[in-house]
Each structure stands twice: as structure tokens, then as C-alpha cells.
Symmetry: C2
């Protein structure tokens, strides 16, 4: 299913994630109708979308003026209005099973029968809220990375009830919107991205806990070492290119050593308070608490510049 | 200890790693003397260093002409000649304990008493080859990422016998050479970088083995998702900026969920042959074996362009 110019996309839930999705789809030319039960979120929408678009424009990432794109985003006065005539609705309400169950029951009633219903959930298996619904075959999880207009990966996770065609259509639509959707074969807690991240983060905490390295030096290991590869190659391509005979050769050479590095001397355990105190203290030396918000803005500017670089390089031949 | 222009650096072992180190130090203005017992490695040195420098020049990463830098690299006819008058020697010979023991015994005899002796080993604890030597206090592991002229991280790992001043001096010298050295507090197998990488790679293999995702989609998760953060922020800074109250707040909100994602249903086990066959087959669909070498060249060009972007952005305010 292609995303056509002017095609209607519904956004339900206008918090941080919903607003960011509105930017993604409006940037791609869709007519985006947004609804939130919270008037405050609705009131903040326009300014938030404008800010996001202006950051993209500043990094040279837009082909149209922010105001032109902003005009494609409209507020709907009801969920039914946001869904009417939509071919795809992205849900980003509160991250509780009760909230997801309630909203998907409503979406299943209010949207056209062929409309794809996608959830932004990062932690709740879609099957748990899709199961009781008549339209459960058209429900799929489309988990973004925050913010999706800067980080293109989207994890598409079919529920036990998803129609494979719906998943394929959602994938094509997200690709047309400029995202990079991957498709999981079945549900797994944390999906792929958060599981990979958790594996690395847990080893990072362990290395600091056991006193091998400071938090700052560990961060350098990632940003001045591993991150330079992982920015344009995943671990399988990295392995494939790291031995003359490709990935099979890599495994033959290095598998035993890699596996030895993941043997745990101590079983996993909750991070002790003393460790958190130490990490907090080390971080506050690098960045005072009063500068956290400013640094988060730096992060987003940096990410936009990086995305501009990535797109330019990808065009040269991925 | 500063790296002064014209200061002598010895490079012992002129394989892939030794040559790359020669580029690092010559680029920084040092007089680099290279020795290898293998005449073939010595014969290939000039061409290899020239190629590396030309790739750097093409990406706008040099402030001098490649020929000017190349003139600072000289061949020594003996280990003693490479070490004479050097303030720092970087060893990159074969990765066996026997080879390291033999070469460090020679280096300890042949180099000036105050010279720092650094090993490129990625797997052998420095204490094992430093222990019997009179000059063991001046031996330290300086483990690079390949190639160090494109990936700046260096892991400095003191042995049980290292003089802390030697480690500090090596750190300053490597910083002057444009690298990003981190300092481990004590030896651990795989150091930090390979342990972090192994944690992620092992989870990647597991997710593919259990059929959740294809190798190609897993790679996308890293390069179009996680890699966009990790290119300029490590996991601790990422966490610090991902909750309004900083890293302590992040741990309070997410630690339990993260730890749940690292619980293993099955104990670690060697990767089965069937899994390797599948990964190999999936990779060969993306990249035929005949194109591996060409793609490795693409990787290095891409990395150079990325480094140019990173340095420009870092200058704007890290």
C-alpha cells in the first residue's frame, strides 16, 4: 500500500510520540488528523509540530517550508472524526493495557473496516489488546524510536491475529513515509531494539559496578568506538566484513572468544543503590542537573545533523 | 607527556594494525620508525600507508599533503634501530602469548629506559608478558579499534605492574595524536569494547536463532535505530537524557524492565551449525561473496566520511 499525497492518516494520542508521528506523516505529504482526549495536548500540538519542523528545516532535512507541512496537520474534535476516511491510524495513548484495550475497541468501531490500526506501544504485546476485537486482523504494533522523524527505524510486530497483508501494507506505507520498518516474525518482550539495547546497557552497568571503568570512559567506548561502525552497519554486516571469508569465517574464528565474554561470573541482579549513586555522581560531574534540558536540545540538534549526513551518504550508495 | 612534532615513535610489527598506527603517529607530526621481521610486511608498508593517507585526504581529514606525512615514516633495519631514541613504542606482532613474551623481552632490552612500551593486544592480559621483565612498570596495553586512524578509541589497560604515571603519559600522548584513549582500572578479558560488543552480538544471534527476526532486519535495527544515538552518546549519557531527572530517575523508571529483557530462557550455548548456515545464506542474499572485498572498501570510505562529519560536529560543541 503506497502512501499517496493527501491520503488521510489518523493520529490518536497527541503526546510526545503522537506529535512526532504527525510530523512524519505530514512531511511525507499525508493529511494528518490528530485527536487526543486531553485538551492540553491538543493545544500544545501546533507549537510542538512547528518546533520539530523548524529543527528539521535548520538541518536541511525538509524539501518544503515548515508552514506548508504544518497546514497538513489538523485537529479533530473526536476520535471518530480523526478516523473517518483514514487508511492508517497510529495510536500513541498511555502505555497501560487498560488504555490500549479501551482505545482499540473504540478504533475498531470508529474506523473504516480496511483501515490499518497501528499501536506505538513499546512494552505491551499487541495480542493482549487485539484479541477480543472483531477487527483484530488489522491491528499491528508499529513501535517507533523517539523521535521517529529523526530516527527512522520502526518495529512492526504482528499480533497472533494480524493478517500478513496488513503487515506488508503497513510496511510499505511506512517506507513511503521515509521510515525504515523491520518486521518481527512474532511477539517477544521488548521487541528487537530494546532487547539489543538492554544487553549492552546491562554489560555497561556491570563493568562500572565491578570497577573496571568509569561511566565517562564507558560512554567514550561506545561513541568513539562501537558507534562509528553501528551507525551504518549492523552486527551481521560488521561480522561479514570482518573476516576474509564472510560471516561463516568470522564465526569460525571468533565465536568461542565472543561467547567467553558473555559468561557471567555473577547472576543478574538489581542494580544496587550504591552503584546508582556512583553513576549519578559521575554523570553530574560531566553534566550538572541544571543543564540536562539544554543538553537534550543539543542531542536533538546533533541527531538532526547526523541524519542529514546519513541521508546524503546513503544516497551515494548504501 | 605531550607528543611533540618530530618526536620519535617506534612501531614494531608492520601488519594491518602496525601500519595503521604508523598513519596515526605520522599524521600527528611524529617521526615514525617501523620494524618487522617479515620482509614482505616491510615491502608493503609504503604502499599501505600511502593508501590510508589518500583515503583520509579524500575525506578532507588531513591538514597536510599525504606525501609530507608519508616522509615521516621510515623503515628500520632492526628492532634496536626502531627503538633507539623513541619515547613510545607500539607493538603489533602476532596475537600469541609466546610472540608477545619474546617481543617485549627484546623491547625491554632495546629501548631507552624511560620509553613507554605499549601493546596492541586485544585478547592477552598484559600482565602475562610484562611480569618477568625488569622494565615491566613501563608496559601497558593500548588496544586500538581497526583502523585507529578512522576510529579514535584506544583502550589503555594497565598490567598489574604498570606505573600509573606511565599510563597517564600514554594517555596524554595518544590524545595529542588525536585518539580518544580510555583507561581501565584493571585487566578484564576482552576489555570494555569487545565485552559490550559481545553482549549485543550474542543477543543478535539469539534473536535470529529463535526466529524472531531476519539478519537484515536486525542489522537495520542497529544502523537505523540504536546506532544513531550511540554515534554521539554512550549508554550512560543516553540514559541521563532519557528521563527528566537524569540517570537516577531513568533507573527508577526503567531498570526493572531492562533487567527483564536480559533474562535468559536458555543458557548460553555454542551457535549451532544450522544457525550459521542460515545467517550465511541470508547475508549472501544481501551481498554475494564475490563482493565482500569491495564492500569492505565501501565501509572504509563510509567510515572516513563519517569521521569528517563527527569531527566537524564535535568542534561545534561536544
Amino acid at each position: 500500500m503506497a502512501l499517496a499525497r493527501g491520503q488521510k492518516i489518523g493520529i490518536v494520542g497527541a503526546g510526545l510520540i503522537g506529535r512526532a508521528w504527525a510530523i512524519v506523516f505530514a512531511r511525507a505529504g499525508a493529511a494528518v488528523a490528530v485527536f487526543d482526549t486531553e485538551p492540553k495536548a491538543m493545544a500544545a500540538l501546533d507549537g510542538a509540530v512547528r518546533n520539530g519542523l523548524e529543527a528539521l528545516a535548520a538541518a536541511g532535512l525538509l524539501t518544503e517550508a515548515p508552514a506548508t507541512i504544518l497546514r497538513r496537520v489538523t485537529l479533530s474534535s473526536s476520535l471518530a472524526e480523526a478516523c473517518a476516511g483514514a487508511e492508517y491510524v497510529q495510536e500513541s495513548v498511555a502505555e497501560t493495557l487498560a488504555a490500549k484495550r479501551a482505545i482499540f475497541a473504540e478504533l475498531d468501531r470508529a474506523s473504516p473496516p480496511a483501515c490499518i490500526l497501528a499501536s506505538s506501544t513499546s512494552t505491551i504485546p499487541g495480542s493482549l489488546f487485539a484479541e477480543p476485537l472483531r477487527g483484530r486482523a488489522r491491528i499491528v504494533v508499529a513501535h517507533p524510536v523517539n523521535p521517529p522523524y529523526l530516527v527512522p527505524l520502526v518495529e512492526l510486530v504482528p499480533t497472533r491475529y494480524s493478517d500478513p497483508d496488513i503487515v506488508t501494507n503497513a510496511k510499505e506505507l511506512l517506507e513511503d513515509a521515509g521510515q525504515v520498518p523491520i518486521v518481527l516474525n512474532r511477539e517477544v518482550e521488548g521487541f528487537v531494539l530494546n532487547r539489543l539495547q538492554a544487553a549492552l546497557v546491562t554489560e555497561a552497568f556491570r563493568l562500572v559496578e565491578e570497577g573496571y571503568v568509569s561511566t565517562e570512559d564507558l560512554d567514550k567506548t561506545v561513541k568513539d568506538g562501537l558507534g562509528l561502525r553501528w551507525f551504518f552497519m549492523g552486527p551481521f554486516e560488521t561480522a561479514d566484513l570482518n573476516a576474509p571469508g564472510g560471516v561463516r569465517d568470522y564465526v569460525r574464528r571468533y565465536a568461542a572468544a565472543i561467547q567467553r565474554l558473555t559468561e557471567r561470573e555473577t547472576p543478574p541482579h538489581p542494580w544496587p543503590e550504591e552503584l546508582i549513586d556512583r553513576i549519578e555522581a559521575e554523570r553530574r560531574l560531566v553534566l550538572p542537573a541544571s543543564k540536562l534540558a539544554e543538553r537534550a536540545q543539543w542531542r536533538d540538534r546533533r541527531l538532526a545533523a547526523l541524519l542529514a549526513h546519513k541521508l546524503a551518504e546513503d544516497r551515494k550508495g548504501r
